[in-house]
């Protein structure tokens, strides 16, 4: 269908225009970025609107099914509009307080169990240091289980001491924080390697779109990479036009005010 062809052409053009930013920022890349912001804002609004409709209106236990209690959160939600007033601005705080309170309560419960207790439990309970075969070579990526357990226990404790800012890092604490810092550097190194991997994957995804996508209808075949030269020519024309424009002169500095002549 014709809209699929339009989507293909649009996709190639915006991809090339955004990549032209890497050479130098230019009106084409800026225009695409501003369009992106506008569409993103409307999409966010649309998803929040849909969330409210599916949560409050549609379904057997919602307004559709006769449960009119769901009108109450809709009315509370409308209090957000007081954000734009000066006199009644404080009414905007009521729905915000409800949301913040619920989220804070959920955060406490969720974090305590999963990110705090479970992690400490695992460090204390799940890392074997004694037992049959624990200090034998297991091969593969495991190595020696007992040694791994020891490294994790020492690494966790010393890295935690790095965040003790109540006392000066001297003596035993100083040694511990130094070791902890090395473990944190290993963590950041792993994060860096993974980040490189992820970013290159995203670029590979765009390249596969440019090289492999096509539009086929009746006797027409349009590969995405047919359109790349056209988009590149547009960028070159834009670059030449920018070059031909006279450079805007910087505004002249305002003249200094004359000092009043002293009398006498």
């Amino acid at each position: 269908m014709i809209q699929d062809l339009f989507a293909l052409i649009f996709g190639v053009f915006v991809t090339i225009f955004i990549y032209s930013f890497l050479w130098k920022e230019n009106p084409l890349s800026r225009a695409v970025e501003h369009l992106f912001v506008g569409l993103a804002a409307v999409y966010t609004f649309g998803s929040m609107y849909d969330a409210a409709m599916t949560q409050a209106v549609w379904g057997a236990q919602r307004i559709e099914g006769g449960n009119y209690l769901w009108i109450v959160p809709i009315l509370i939600s409308l209090m957000y509009f007081f954000f734009f007033t000066k006199k009644y601005f404080y009414l905007y705080r009521y729905p915000v307080s409800i949301v913040v309170g619920i989220m804070a309560g959920m955060m406490i419960c969720g974090m305590i169990q999963s990110n705090f207790l479970a992690q400490i439990q695992s460090t204390a309970r799940d890392l074997p240091l004694i037992g049959a075969g624990v200090w034998d070579w297991s091969g593969g990526s495991t190595g020696i289980i007992g040694l791994n357990s020891l490294i994790i226990i020492i690494g966790t404790i010393t890295a935690l001491t790095f965040f003790f800012f109540t006392w000066e890092h001297k003596g035993a604490l100083g040694v511990s924080t130094k070791i902890g810092r090395y473990f944190l550097m290993a963590t950041f190194g792993a994060a860096y390697g993974s980040t490189v991997m992820a970013r290159i994957s995203l670029f590979i995804g765009r390249l596969r779109f440019l090289y492999e996508t096509s539009y086929e209808e009746a006797n027409i075949l349009v590969n995405a990479w047919y359109i790349i030269p056209i988009a590149v020519v547009c960028v070159i024309i834009m670059a030449l036009w920018l070059r031909s424009k006279p450079e805007a002169k910087p505004p002249e500095p305002a003249p200094k005010p004359e000092k009043p002549k002293s009398k006498g």
Binding site: D50, T54, S194, I200, G205
Partner: protein
């Protein structure tokens, strides 16, 4: 300018051109490098293989178009695996952008007429976007009908037999989380698994972008996450495992070849940058 200064001050635009060329070559002319299969992907595969037919799997599609190259092949391969194993799939998205992506994957795995297929409602249900982020996750785990009253197509959950079996986290046999941010695997651990009996009650497998995998390793070694598909490589490993048993197409080969050359190029840039730095430092200049 001396050679050391030239090395230390290469214009970044030449680096960008090199990245473009080096990553493009294997996509046009694949190298067919052999792929080592890691333990993290193997555990995802083994966990899904071990589930009995009829087990309920929650497929949570929590990513957007920006991370599609990594998450989509992971999710699609696992959906295929679940279908082949005869598992019952409840697919949903806690990201609004995940909803259309999930629908596309279900069409590609089940049938292009999805949801107009015989098994819809009994073996597979698509809830689409479930609002509320982590709040929605908690609500869904407490009571699936409260989180959303209808499926993605407007059908009331009361008329879908699978949703009468899948009423809360007690009924989940596996949660497959396809994540690229928040809400993601950490929120599933906190607001679903942590509140409903821990890893033995709600086992979780995760397919994530490579950037977030190091941060979830402490959950992996504590058993809160059973297995992880690590970015594009993880997707390739899983596709390879499925290809061996089920003949699933292994499509990530050229991408992983491109990834390999990209990594080598980055290493060369690091070496080059440090060579330039050391040379200029030894001459007493600024890098």
């Amino acid at each position: 300018m001396s050679i050391s200064e030239k090395i230390a001050r290469i214009d970044r635009r030449y680096l960008y051109i090199l990245v473009f060329i080096v990553v493009t070559i294997p996509l046009l002319n694949p190298l067919k490098l052999p792929l080592p299969i890691g333990e993290h992907a193997t555990r995802v595969y083994d966990k899904t293989e071990a589930l009995a037919a009829g087990s309920i799997v929650i497929e949570s599609i929590d990513f957007g178009p920006s991370t599609r190259p990594e998450n989509y092949p992971q999710m699609k391969a696992h959906l295929f695996h679940a279908k082949e194993r005869g598992l019952k799939v409840v697919a949903l998205a806690f990201w609004p952008s995940g909803a259309p992506i999930g629908e596309q994957a279900l069409r590609e795995v089940y049938d292009s007429d999805f949801p107009d297929i015989p098994e819809y409602g009994t073996s597979v249900v698509y809830l689409g976007y479930v609002p509320g982020a982590e709040v929605g996750m908690q609500t869904f785990a407490d009571n699936t009908a409260t989180a959303k009253g209808t499926d993605h197509y407007g059908t009331s959950l009361t008329s879908l037999p699978l949703m009468q079996e899948c009423r809360s986290a007690a009924d989940f046999d596996l949660w497959a989380e396809w994540a690229s941010g928040t809400p993601g695997e950490q929120q599933v651990i906190q607001f679903v698994q942590g509140r409903h009996g821990g890893p033995s009650a709600v086992p979780i497998v995760v397919g994530a972008t490579a950037v977030s995998v190091p941060g979830m390793m402490n959950f992996y070694i504590s058993g809160q996450i059973y297995g992880i598909l690590n970015g594009l490589a993880g997707a390739g490993e899983y596709e390879y495992l499925l290809n061996v048993k089920y003949g699933y197409p292994y499509a990530q080969g050229p991408s992983l070849d491109a990834q390999s050359l990209g990594h080598v190029l980055i290493l060369l840039f690091i070496i080059l940058g440090n060579v330039g730095y050391l040379l200029t430092r030894s001459k007493g200049g600024k890098s």
